[in-house]
Each structure stands twice: as C-alpha cells, then as structure tokens.
C-alpha cells in the first residue's frame, strides 16, 4: 500500500472520518480501499477512526497500520455514545481543511468520494452521495421511502438519500453546523437550514449495502422522535407558538365547541350532569390551554435569547482559487 506520505507538520488535504458505530466491516480493508481511491485522485489524506467502545476488538488492525506508518489515527470513545458525538470528536481532531465522512461499512462505490471532493472544490459547501442506481432489498426501500416522506419533506424534495453517510465538506462548515442528539444522520437537512449549498451526487449502491436491515422497535421509536424534533427545530425554532398554538387551538377549539353545544342543549332542558361527553370536552379544552401555554413559554425563551443568537448567516465572499492554506 503506497500511501501518499504526509510530512510532519504539514496537514493532509483531506481528513477522512470513519465513525464505527454499527455493522462495521473489517476496518483495515476499508481503510485500504478508500486510501487507494484518494491516491487515485491525487489527494493526500489522513484517516480518523472514531469508535464506539463496543467495537474495541476491531481496532487492532488499525493500530497495526498506524505502527506501519500509515496516516491513521484511532479515537475510542470512553463510553457508549452515538454517531453524532463520535463525529464531533472526529471533527475536533481533524487537521485538514476538507473532511470526508464515511460510515464503517460500504454504502456506495468508494470512488464516489473523489466526485464528492471535486464538488466541494467546485463550490458546494456539502456534497453527499446518493445511492443510485439502487439495488436495495424491499424492506430497506420501504424504510427509505418512509424516511423521505417524513424528514425528506423538510428539504422540499431536493434530497433523495438523507441516510447515506458518505459526505464531503469543508471542516469549517461542519464545525459551524450545530450537531447534537442524533442529528448527524440528518446533516444535509441541517446544512440547508443553515444556508449552506448542498449537492447530491449519484453513485451506484454497493452490493454489501443491500442486505435487509431490520432494527429493534426501540430504534424506530427513537428515529420517529428524532424526526419530530428535527421538524420542530427546522420549522419552528424561532416561532414555537405557531407549532404549539396550532395544536392548542385545535384541541381547545374542539373542546370549546362541544361545551358550547352542550350548554345550548342545557338551556333547552337537557341536563348536563349525566353527560360524560362534558368531561371529554373539558379535558380537550384544558389540554389545548396547556399547549398554548407551553408555546408562550417557548416564545418568551426565544425573545430573551434573541440578542444571543443570530437568526441569519451571511454568505462569505467567494473564496480565493487554489487549495486552502494548511492549518
């Protein structure tokens, strides 16, 4: 393996961050495959493997590579943390101006990363691979569809494969996008929200990515909650009352109308005391008021924090030609 050698003190052009968090393939083989691709498009590189402690054993071959002088660094998180936190750790350590993130398994043909890097050179802030043409199993396709009918709509149909983890960007861009919770998965959506240009580049799906993936029910519950959180974050961060107010207005409105109808019926002689429907109506009304009250607290927090939080981002003047200076 002829790695493009990086002299001490000068950063490589590209940092590849591999998050080892689920279904990892042999990591040394993965490294060699991606390294060969980067060699082929003439980029110098360093690799950072950020690993969940569960995969401790799989890191040994990487350490062997490191001892052999390959530009590989291994970070093992001290405790069980998610992909987003692992990515943050990797970003904190990245030395190059360009960053490629890949999962520890193959989703697309590795050669895609050259195209992604070219797109970033061409002005995109974030280039994401899209698994296309797709050779996926039916179950995977169904999950893909479900994801894009929900979270995908937040991008107004501009993204076709949010879940593909093969992405290239500039380090400064990735560091500027607030990443927490489980939101690394939705990075392209967050990038668009923050006003970055996102480009999708089609690359044939890798044959090893077609196997049926079924997760535990808990995973689906967590994902659903994430999507709800994302929806709120992207659409209502600055106007919580519009979200809670709508829910509250529907609830309180339904309850209020039911109460009004029963009240009129009471005037015409039908007693109220034996109508359980009234309990439901009062319940709806109180729930509605609670939702609106929560929205108001949200608005108050936004209002008081407005001075601390810029609600826009300016586009920087076009960057100068050529490689960014080494850091």
């Amino acid at each position: 393996m002829m790695a493009t050698q990086v002299r001490a003190g000068i950063a490589a052009q590209v940092t590849v961050i591999v998050t080892v968090v689920e279904r990892p393939e042999p990591l040394d083989a993965l490294y060699q495959e991606y390294a060969a691709v980067l060699d082929s498009c003439g980029r110098s590189y360093e690799f950072i493997f950020v690993a969940h402690p569960f995969f401790h054993e799989m890191l040994e071959p990487l350490l062997a590579l490191q001892r052999a002088g390959e530009p590989v660094r291994v970070i093992e998180s001290p405790r069980s943390i998610g992909e987003t936190a692992l990515l943050r750790m990797g970003l904190a350590d990245a030395r190059s101006a360009l960053v490629v993130t890949v999962p520890a398994y193959r989703q697309v043909q590795p050669s895609a990363i050259c195209d992604l890097l070219a797109a970033v050179d061409g002005g995109a802030d974030l280039a994401v691979a899209r698994r296309w043409p797709r050779i996926d199993s039916k179950v995977n396709r169904f999950q893909h569809l479900a994801l894009h009918l929900t979270a995908g709509r937040l991008a107004n149909g501009t993204l076709h494969d949010i879940a593909c983890g093969v992405r290239a960007s500039r380090r400064d861009v990735l560091r500027a996008i607030p990443l927490y919770g489980d939101f690394a998965r939705f990075l392209p959506l967050l990038a668009i929200y923050n006003g970055y240009d996102v480009i999708e580049i089609a690359s044939p799906q890798h044959s090893s990515d077609r196997s049926r993936r079924v997760y535990s029910p808990g995973v689906y519950v967590r994902r659903s909650i994430d999507i709800l959180g994302l929806y709120f974050l992207l659409r209502f961060t600055e106007k919580p009352l519009r979200f809670f107010g709508l829910i509250g207005a529907v609830l309180a409105g339904t309850g209020g109308i039911a109460l009004a109808v029963m009240f009129v019926q009471r005037i015409f002689g039908q007693p109220l005391g034996n109508r359980p429907l009234m309990l439901l109506a009062v319940l709806l009304a109180t729930l509605g008021v609670q939702a609106i009250a929560l929205g108001l607290v949200g608005e108050m927090i936004v209002h008081f924090n407005a001075s601390r939080r810029r609600s826009y981002r300016l586009r920087e003047p076009a960057a100068a030609e050529g490689d960014p200076p080494p850091v």
């Binding site: 107010g245 607290v297 608005e299 826009y312 300016l314």
Partner: protein
C-alpha cells in the same frame, strides 16, 4: 454592538428577487440624498434567485456608499432587516422596502422628525396603492388589532419606511416575523418614543407581491406573543398565575354546579373541576419554570443594556 466609525445615516433595504428594482432604487436614493453629507445604502439580499445580487454588486463596486450583504439562503424580511441593522454604521438608520413602493424622497422627512427627539419614526402610507381585498382590508384589521392589543397606536405597521436611532436598534433583536411589530416591541421593551409621519406610496412597478392572505393565523400567534411580551415581560409567573387563577374560578363553577345539580350522581361536574384544578397546577409550575429559564438571560441583558448606555453616553 455598533461598528466604531459612525456615519450620519444608513438606509437598509431588504431585497428578494428585485432585479428590476435595484438600479432605479439606488438612483432614487442618490437623488433624494444628494444634499446629505454622509450616508450609506445597505442592500440586503435575502437569497434571491435572480440577478439582484449581481446588479447590486456592480453598483456597489462603483459607488462605495452602496454596501451589499448576501444572506446564505432565503431567511425572510425580518432576518434580512436585522442583518442590515447589524451592519449599518449610521447614527440614524432608515429601513424601507426594495420594491419601489416607498419613496426615498420621504427619508429626509423621517430623519427631521426623528431629530425632534424621537427614537422611532414610522411612516404611514397615504393613498395606499394596493388591492383592497387581499391587502388593504387584512392590513386594516391587523393594524387595529396590533394597536388594541399592544396599546401602541401605529396607523400602519406594515409600512417598512421607518427611521430609528442607533441606540434603539442596539436594544432590539428581530427574529421570526417580528419586523412587522417593531414599533410595538420598541415601545414595550425599550420604552421608545415613537412618532408617525405620512409618506408617499407607489403601486408596485415590477415583480410580484410577496404576501398573501394565509398570514392571518401566523399573525394571530405573533400578536399573542407580542401581547405577552408587552404585558408580562417583567413577570411571566404573573401571567401564568392569572391563568391558574382563572382556571380555579372555572373549577369552583363546576363544583357549584355539582352542589346545585338536580341529578343525584352528577360526577361529570367534580370530574371537570378536577381537570381545571390540574390545569391551574400545571400553569403555576410552568410559570415557575419560565422564571427559572429566564433568570440568567435577564441578568445578562440588564448588564448589556447598562454597558451599551455607557458607550453611547
């Protein structure tokens, strides 16, 4: 924080897909301010997809008084305005629309009024040139509601042509769609002295109007927010306490209905009363949490204000 070198006057103009209006607008501003010693025009592009930025940049390259800011995406008029305010170096800042419906010849009138000792001078459109059903009537209703709810009597909140003192803008931070309620916010949170002057209004010459009737629900939510901020900014707990009190009163009503009910087992009444009591407890706790969440921010805000006052003094 304001930049250190101050000019006399900054004009801030948010622009969204206004390629036809840019040049005539700049010309009109130049003409209107020909006598004025030092001014700058800050054009804020709000993620336009037409040639707005290109045209504006060309003008800016030839005339250093014209500054172009480009937002990274289409954020909305409020954010564009705030970006302009953040960049403006004028001791007086004037905001106006980028669609030529406002007339730059009114700028000196606003500035003169401001110099009589006001913090904010709002223009109101005389003989407004807009469609009656989709623009004038909703706008009339909205203005009435804003005046009534906030107690700030502004005839025309939707008119973008306004002049502000730098010191006032330093205290305001716009977000969401708040530019429409700027006078109400300024009065509620910064005790601004506000005046109005009549301004000219032209029919739209180019492009299409960027508003629609769908704003009413949003407007209602925003109004509720403004009302809350104007009234309960100092004490959110008081607001939630009042809500809890109201809920308790309703609960008592249900209990009374239970006692007076002719039906023997009218359990829906005590049930409803319990729900209302639960709501009262919830609101009280929510009020406490709100106070908690705001405590630190408020302390910082107060400090900032005193510091900013010291800078301007």
């Amino acid at each position: 924080m304001p930049p250190t070198s101050l000019l006399a006057l900054s004009i801030v103009v948010p622009m969204y897909n206004e390629e036809e209006s840019v040049s005539p607008l700049v010309d009109a501003v130049r003409e209107a301010l020909a006598e004025h010693p030092s001014w700058e025009l800050v054009l804020v592009d709000d993620g336009s997809r037409d040639a707005t930025v290109r045209i504006a940049s060309t003008i800016s390259a030839a005339d250093h008084r014209v500054v172009v800011l480009q937002l990274a995406r289409n954020y909305g008029q409020t954010q564009a305005m705030q970006a302009g305010f953040d960049r403006a170096r004028g001791r007086i800042v004037v905001s106006m629309d980028g669609d030529l419906q406002n007339d730059p010849r009114d700028i000196p009138l606003l500035v003169a009024k401001l110099e009589e000792g006001y913090d904010l001078v709002a223009g109101y459109r005389m003989r407004r040139q807009d469609k009656v059903v989709t623009r004038k009537i909703p706008s009339w209703v909205a203005n009435r509601m804003i005046s009534w709810l906030t107690g700030v009597r502004i005839r025309d909140n939707g008119c973008s042509l306004k002049a502000y003192r730098r010191e006032l803008l330093d205290q305001l931070h716009l977000y969401s769609d708040m530019h429409r309620f700027l006078p109400a916010l300024a009065a509620a949170t910064a005790n601004a002295r506000i005046a109005e002057v009549p301004v000219r209004h032209h029919a739209r010459r180019f492009g299409v109007s960027k508003y629609g009737l769908s704003r009413i629900a949003k407007l209602l939510a925003d109004l509720l927010t403004i009302k809350m901020i104007a009234t309960f900014r100092e004490s959110p707990l008081a607001m939630f306490g009042l809500g809890a009190l109201a809920s308790s009163v309703v609960a008592s009503g249900f209990l009374a209905a239970w006692l007076l009910s002719p039906i023997p087992n009218a359990y829906v009444f005590p049930g409803s009363a319990l729900l209302c009591i639960a709501l009262a407890v919830f609101l009280t706790m929510l009020g406490l949490i709100a106070e908690e969440a705001l405590q630190k921010v408020r302390a910082e805000e107060q400090l900032e204000r005193f510091e900013s006052r010291a800078v301007h003094a």
